[in-house]
């Protein structure tokens, strides 16, 4: 009985020691962390990497007393350089009073120069290896500027600039479709594909970079320097080779089946861009087959949408009119997809993954075509684009206002 008691007491002491001696490893108080919201990567002239950290000042973002946060900026920028990313990140500790914490880094910006000259393949490893970095972090290429300028810029409305960039990408992809929000893991996956092609959205600082980092830039109703989504960067073998803008950009996003809603302008009876067709949902399928050693691709898309604007006098109550409009819209979309494909073919980058589709469906034939796919087969690939467009609703009006006016006046 006593022996048992002694034994259990011994166990108890051991358990208590086990708990106490661990001394809370990996414990980190909130007040000892600096949350990196965005990180910019540039190349210095002497070939080193320069990291720019956008660090959140919590007190200025979530002000406790009233409307705090206008006196001092919501983020603070630190930068550090090193021969590799880890070194740069460690060196930064000499300048920052707290431990850099990457778990809430939602954005990584890469300078255009670095992306063009050295490529982004070399940057992936350290970011993916780090246990704090999320692979769902968004990746953005600084269009015509250094990553540092983009990271330094302050933004109105969304106080944390990284949030502003992410949300802009998210909503413009959904509402307009000329940009793309890609996460780190998506980029990694597409860089690993046979051709190493990837699409990454671009962001640009409009205005003076010095002005953008000042707080008084935000104290105007129309800030002089702003950030805007601009273009889609095309990567081949990990290097930036081209930018897509306007309709090739939207067409590419469309073929990748990532577009959600956009606006297509349709000509009607000689009047240019007379109808606005707002798409609501679409589904795009890509298939590929090989006939007598020659590959043929087909892109099929099915769009549903509403009429958003009618600038010609037309009675949309008639089914025949709607049918005609659907056809015209389909034609317009087809044109856009074809420009996108043409652009990709001139760049010789298979950003749509036709090669991968072939590899999945017909691995044997892919083996034969693989070596010359990017240079020979893809640029000459016959792509058959079919578009099914439907107009489901015409908004709150049926007849166009112009036609009502016309009827009344005559």
């Amino acid at each position: 009985m006593i022996k048992m008691k002694r034994k259990s007491l011994f166990l108890l002491v051991m358990t208590i020691m086990m708990v106490l001696l661990t001394s809370c490893w990996s414990k980190k108080e909130l007040t000892d962390l600096s949350f990196v919201s965005a990180m910019g990567i540039d190349k210095t002239k002497d070939g080193r990497y320069e990291l720019t950290f956008q660090i959140i000042n919590p007190g200025n973002v979530a002000g406790l007393q009233g409307g705090g946060g206008t006196q001092s900026p919501p983020v603070t920028i630190y930068s550090a350089s090193g021969d590799n990313l880890v070194e740069a990140s460690r060196r930064a500790s000499a300048r920052i009073s707290r431990r850099l914490y990457y778990a809430h880094t939602n954005l990584v910006v890469i300078g255009e120069k670095l992306a063009r000259e050295e490529g982004i393949n070399i940057l992936i490893d350290s970011i993916d290896r780090d246990p704090e970095f999320r692979i769902t972090t968004s990746l953005v290429i600084a269009n015509q500027s250094s990553a540092a300028d983009l990271v330094k810029a302050l933004t109105p409305v969304d106080k944390i600039p990284a949030n502003k960039i992410m949300k802009t990408l998210e909503f413009t992809q959904r509402k307009w479709g000329e940009n793309l929000k890609v996460s780190f893991q998506e980029v990694m996956r597409s860089l690993e594909s046979p051709g190493g092609e990837a699409l990454v959205s671009g962001f640009r600082l409009v205005g003076n970079p010095q002005q953008a980092e000042k707080l008084d830039n935000l104290q105007q109703s129309a800030p002089e320097a702003t950030l805007r989504a601009s273009g889609i960067a095309v990567f081949k073998n990990g290097k930036l080779i081209d930018w897509l803008y306007n309709s090739p950009a939207r067409g590419s996003v469309w073929i990748l089946d990532k577009i959600q809603g956009t606006d297509i302008n349709v000509d009607w009876k000689g009047k240019k861009e007379a109808l606005a067709y707002q798409t609501v949902r679409q589904k795009t399928d890509v298939s590929i087959k090989v006939i007598k050693g020659k590959p043929y691709a087909s892109v099929h898309t099915r769009v549903e949408g509403d009429l958003g604007e009618v600038e010609v006098p037309v009675d949309t109550r008639q089914p025949a009119v709607i049918k005609k409009m659907e056809k015209a819209a389909g034609k317009e979309i087809k044109k856009e997809l074809q420009t996108a494909i043409k652009q990709a073919q001139t760049d010789k980058v298979d950003i749509f993954g036709f090669g991968e589709a072939l590899e999945r469906t017909r691995p044997n034939q892919w083996e034969k075509l693989k070596s010359e796919w990017d240079d020979v087969y893809f640029p000459k690939l016959d792509v058959d684009v079919t578009v099914e467009a439907y107009i489901r609703r015409t908004g709150l009006r049926n007849k166009s206002f112009l036609s009502s006016v016309k009827e009344k006046q005559h």
Partner: protein
């Protein structure tokens, strides 16, 4: 086993020796002389001032001296007046009385009271005197007639203060065991409702009554409880908590293994499930055994409300119990270990609040929880009039001043208040208070290991719960061991018509109700036809 604690001496030398002190009241018989007896009574009761001795003479020629002895305050004065003194002093049949047959005659013919008995030794005599009986002593007879005149001031039946319900009977038990037993008797009208009374406590001689339904309760459990009650040898039982702590299975646990209630309907419901109730005189709290873990989350109202409402409220209670256990621990774990687990905007908001707080999150949480416990404890002790003042001071000091002074963060105040409110949602006070205790363990676990620590302590807790027994029944019963049939009334409360069986492992008699109890109204067409037929008949 390494000899770690070698110096420990065996402490088992303290043998119970307290027994001898009080047993001097040897079973000596009474004296013949009235005066001697009365002197002895006075002597034994230390000449206490509340003992009333009324001398009078019976028989025609006033030759037979007699006396009535009782204790003022615990007897029913009216009854003594009307049925004892009146009968004895005004009766006309006194002719035959002599010192041989006096007591028999009186009990058979004169005293118009229900419960009378004879006592011929000092032990019986004194214990019946102390419990409120009146003793009739006649000169020359070495026996005493003890007449049951228990009474005196009692608290009236009032509304339950600890287990309130919106719907359901309002009356709660009182301090009087007789009233309490009667309240249950009134609900369960079957001869199978059996009672066993005993007196526990060498000095207090408290009435303890075992109540169960014969044929539904498990005989083995009844036997076990009876055995454990008989084993109690203590000088006093002041509340049922004494009994609870002396008969429970496992003493080293924060969890209560015996249920207590002050509601007669809860006792009745539990008796009908095969449990056994232990009534203790002097307290409105009745013990119920065996108790299961899930029972502490059931409220009487669950069975009166419809099943969907009852089920969702019960699930809410279990959820609130979890909150009251781990909410502060979660806060500590998130802010010191797992900053990546919450959305960016939330962590930034938390970080902003903690920016000016000088303590680590663990100290902050611990400080706030202790402060709340202090407030709560003080609030109970304080007189009602001041109680509200304390709550105002507490709300101001903790809620506002502490935040403005930058000692705690507003988020912590929110967490503490949620935890506090959640801990009051558990219907059983005993379970809620054990949750409050374990909460600190969770905070400690979270501060050392983060979420891992919380899970570790949860696992330890579940292991401990599964090791508990209540009178041989596993504490977690319908959940572990998992008994699907009995789970109809655990986390869920299925409709009454489906709960055909009593919980397994508790009751011997399994079937509670017959099949086809689901209400089936007649189809509307049928009703219309019936009415029309009735109308036809009326017309003819």
């Amino acid at each position: 086993m390494p000899s770690f604690f070698k110096n420990q001496k065996s402490k088992n030398k303290l043998q119970p020796q307290a027994d001898q002190t009080n047993n001097e009241q040897t079973v000596s018989s009474l004296k013949n002389l009235l005066s001697e007896n009365l002197t002895l009574i006075k002597e034994k009761t230390g000449n206490s001032s509340d003992i009333v001795i009324r001398h009078f003479k019976i028989s025609v020629n006033n030759s037979l001296a007699a006396a009535i002895v009782y204790i003022e305050g615990i007897v029913d004065n009216q009854a003594i007046q009307d049925y004892l003194l009146q009968s004895l002093m005004k009766d006309n049949q006194k002719n035959d009385l002599n010192d041989q047959n006096a007591l028999e005659l009186i009990s058979e013919d004169i005293v118009t009271m229900g419960n009378v008995s004879f006592a011929d030794n000092w032990n019986d005599l004194l214990s019946s005197l102390m419990s409120g009986d009146s003793l009739l002593i006649v000169d020359g007879i070495n026996r005493v007639l003890s007449v049951s005149t228990q009474g005196g001031e009692k608290r009236a039946i009032a509304e339950s203060t600890t287990q309130m319900v919106v719907r359901g009977p309002k009356g709660a038990f009182t301090e009087s065991i007789g009233t309490n037993l009667a309240m249950v008797r009134r609900i369960i009208k079957t001869p199978d409702l059996w009672l066993e009374s005993m007196k526990i406590g060498r000095v207090t001689k408290t009435d303890v009554t075992l109540m169960y339904i014969h044929g539904i309760a498990n005989d083995k459990v009844v036997k076990e409880i009876r055995k454990r009650l008989k084993n109690i040898d203590i000088d006093s039982i002041l509340e049922s908590g004494y009994v609870e702590q002396l008969i429970e299975d496992q003493t080293v646990t924060p969890f209560p293994t015996i249920y207590n209630t002050e509601r007669p309907d809860v006792v009745a419901g539990n008796l009908l499930e095969g449990r056994i109730a232990i009534f203790v005189d002097g307290t409105p709290f009745v013990l119920i055994a065996p108790a299961l873990f899930i029972q502490f989350f059931q409220s009487a109202e669950d069975y009166y409300a419809r099943f969907d409402i009852a089920t969702s409220i019960r699930l809410l209670r279990v959820f609130m119990f979890m909150i009251s256990l781990i909410a502060p621990a979660m806060y500590v774990a998130v802010t010191t270990f797992h900053q990546e687990m919450v959305p960016t905007t939330l962590i930034v908001a938390l970080a902003a609040q903690r920016e000016s707080v000088p303590f680590p999150a663990f100290v902050e949480a611990f400080f706030m929880e202790v402060t709340f416990e202090i407030l709560r404890e003080a609030g109970i002790r304080l007189p009602k009039a001041i109680g509200s003042a304390v709550s105002i001071v507490g709300a101001l000091v903790i809620g506002q001043a502490a935040v403005q002074a930058g000692i705690v963060s507003p988020a912590m105040v929110i967490i503490v208040s949620i935890t506090a409110i959640a801990s009051f949602a558990t219907p059983s006070f005993d379970m809620a208070i054990s949750a409050r205790l374990i909460r600190f363990l969770f905070i400690l676990g979270a501060a050392t290991f983060g979420f891992y620590g919380i899970i570790l302590i949860l696992l330890m807790g579940v292991g401990h719960l599964c090791s508990l027994r209540s009178f041989g029944v596993p504490y977690m019963t319908p959940l572990a061991p998992f008994i699907p049939v009995s789970n109809e009334d655990t986390l869920l409360r299925l409709p009454w018509w489906t709960m055909r069986r009593r919980p397994k492992l508790i009751s011997d008699n399994k079937v509670r109700q017959s099949k086809h109890q689901k209400p089936e109204p007649p189809s509307s067409r049928g009703m219309i036809n019936q009415e029309m037929e009735e109308d036809d008949q009326n017309e003819t």
